[in-house]
Symmetry: C2
Subunit: 434 residues, 2 copies
């Protein structure tokens, strides 16, 4: 009896085209992160459940893939890369130089409801700076977000910034600090549920004066500075938090990257662990997609595991959601070229020679495959076409005896008959004979 | 109360040095696989338990991380990349052109006993050709193994080859075919348990004549051809299986890569699904480490999922075991350079300028980090040294006012005072001023 080759809901197979698109984006990000001196680490996919859920709260619990392993240990699949990173920092603090800048690009799992652009298995691209609580570090994460999207060729974005500390000062001032978590979670939903619904919930949580005040607070003004002035004022005047945000803004203008950033006090991030600056990133052409890169400052994240104070700031690109967005906007590279060259299998007795030719072509730096079957040449050409291979090398008895090959450009159908292999390689690489 | 930041037995954290070593090896392999026209795919980490364990047998079952998810589905973490690939091929056969060459480098999980070089979470690097049953495909996998180890700079290896079909013919001839699976599993252990113990078990399975005969069969002769002649003879003379191995051997000699290969009839691979050629790879300086790259031909692997005949041949590099071996032999690149350049934080008021300088340096193609804290310069230099950063850019008020920087070579302690940033970049890249 056959077993149906099905996969779980919310999980996906990646065929070569999609897999390559994703790998190429990951390579661009790795290169960008590395150019800023960020270093990669790795942590286990599976951890003690207690270690992962020590912090993270009730919302996450239900979504976590948790089970007992064969040794009866309570274990769970990681649901993000931040919690394992906090655990990692606590465990290896003595082996690392601070400030420590790390990136980590890998899969995480959440059993949440599947909907468009949401999967149960997805890739996060995290980058964090640990060991510092200053504007320079806050800024560098924003600068790296700017550079990462630029490197991916995604320029039409808005990175919305806010500061939890200023919001907290404001809530203290209007005597609503005891409801801070609920208020921030409500405000965070404004783009989804609308202003009226947010007012309704805030009114229930506090009173109508406070609710109106909160709505006024989160309304962006004409530009970054005006908004910053307003929230500074509404939060009781200058504070450490507002000064930090001024400083970060100055870094942005002085380095000339302020174009992509806007101050939007409604951004609070749902997660409890943020303590300072927070941000979300939106594709301007697809605002409903949600944030494709979010993060902020968390100064107590490792406190579950260690008494050492380890402040951090970081961000995470939701690669699958970003790719879904880029796909919808037609911005993904559709090219699926498996090789630059195919060696056609013209003569079964010359097959090992074909493998030898391919090895020489590869040594020149080109990717090259041998057609391994003995089908008709027409079939071989259409196989190459389907795979987007631009050049074919043909070698029959005549070419073999004269130590030459025939090069065929599969796009233009142009033939270069009985030329040396070196000339063929040169033609492929430069369009010219050496 | 603090939670201990511990990880599960058999699982590992990778600090930057080790993580980078592994990533670099993976990049070399990806480049090599791609140069042969192999394409990457991705499959879920978590699958239906039935789908993964439909084939694979009792040995594997106990080792699999299996559980019920929140939807009460029986699921399991993949224990290799081969079974998910078979499922993938059955599911997507109509979307792919055959022959299909894929590679897949990613983690798998097995709850086996932890011992040296064995982990419960480890990375496999698989490469397979599906849709063909011929010598050209068998050979190309061997050629790709040859190229992969060469590309990794690992040249002192032996790839031991055998053929299950010839062994089966031999067992039929000596009337022991009904015990084939047990005999092959026994023979496979000869390097671990020794000849005498193998004889003992074979004697119990068959009789002393047969046991002696089998030991004679698996004994390699002076060279590949002599061994091949002997096993051909012992298996009843020329057969499809022996002809295939002759053909593969001719491919190897005609392409000049026969140096690394030897014919060792004791290699059978424990797994049931192999049907033709099989191979294992050993580091000559660490033969007890076990095989670091194994595989073979499997012509019925997808038969669990589909009635379509999909023959395949492939191989898998056990990256973690290989790295453990290379580490022991001192062959791993120990360099842990996080950036080429560090911009020293000399003056707090110039911090945003430092970020700007770093951006220009990065745009030139160099990796560059800004020291984000405000510690003493001596501390900053020792931070850079620990991270293996070779160059520092210093910029105080004087440099800032004259639009210059001071470049310091941290290895030679040489200073280049007040030069233009372009000249500094040129010195770092070429050792010369432009």
């Amino acid at each position: 009896m056959l077993i149906e080759p099905k996969i779980l809901k919310g999980f996906r197979d990646f065929l070569p085209e999609k897999a390559l698109q994703r790998k190429n984006i990951i390579r661009i990000l790795e290169k960008t992160f590395t150019s800023f001196g960020f270093q990669t680490i790795d942590t286990p996919v599976l951890e003690y459940k207690e270690v992962l859920l020590g912090k993270g709260g009730g919302e996450t619990d239900k979504q976590v893939y948790a089970f007992k392993d064969n040794g009866k240990r309570d274990v769970a699949l990681r649901f993000d890369l931040t919690v394992p990173f906090a655990r990692f920092m606590a465990a290896h603090i003595n082996e690392l130089s601070l400030p420590f800048k790390r990136y980590h690009i890998d899969k995480v799992w959440r059993g949440e409801n599947t909907q468009k652009g949401r999967y149960r298995e997805f890739i996060q691209c995290d980058f964090d700076i640990v060991g510092l609580d200053n504007a320079s570090a806050d800024f560098e994460i924003l600068q790296l977000m700017h550079s990462s999207f630029k490197a991916m060729g995604v320029n039409n974005i808005t990175i919305k910034i806010a500061h939890r500390g200023i919001f907290n000062n404001f809530l203290t001032k209007i005597k609503a600090a005891d409801k801070a978590v609920e208020i921030m979670r409500t405000v965070d939903k404004i783009s989804k549920i609308g202003k009226d619904n947010v007012f309704k919930i805030l009114n229930e949580l506090t009173d109508s004066d406070s609710a109106n005040n909160i709505l006024k607070y989160i309304e962006p003004e004409n530009n970054f500075l005006e908004t910053l002035r307003k929230i500074t004022l509404m939060s009781g005047g200058e504070s450490e938090a507002s000064n930090r945000l001024y400083e970060v803004y100055n870094f942005m203008t002085e380095t000339g990257i302020e174009d992509l950033f806007s101050l939007d006090p409604s951004i609070t991030r749902g997660l409890d662990y943020y303590t300072g600056i927070v941000y979300e990133t939106f594709l301007n052409d697809l605002p409903t997609l949600g944030s494709v890169c979010s993060g902020g400052r968390y100064n107590n994240l490792t406190s579950v595991y260690t008494k050492k104070n380890l402040p951090g700031v970081g961000s995470s690109i939701g690669l699958d959601r970003l790719m879904a967005g880029l796909d919808e906007l037609g911005l993904l590279d559709k090219k699926n070229q498996s090789s630059s060259v195919i060696v056609i299998n013209m003569d079964k007795t010359l097959q090992s020679y074909y493998h030898k030719l391919a090895a020489v072509i590869r040594d020149s730096g080109l990717s090259c495959e041998v057609y391994l079957d003995t089908k008709k040449i027409g079939n071989q050409f259409s196989f190459a076409e389907k795979k987007g291979i631009p050049y074919a090398i043909l070698c029959g008895t005549e070419e073999y005896n004269s130590n030459t090959v025939t090069l065929k450009n599969l796009l233009t159908r142009e033939n270069f008959n009985k030329i040396s292999l070196n000339n063929a390689i040169s033609l492929i690489k430069t369009g010219k004979v050496e």
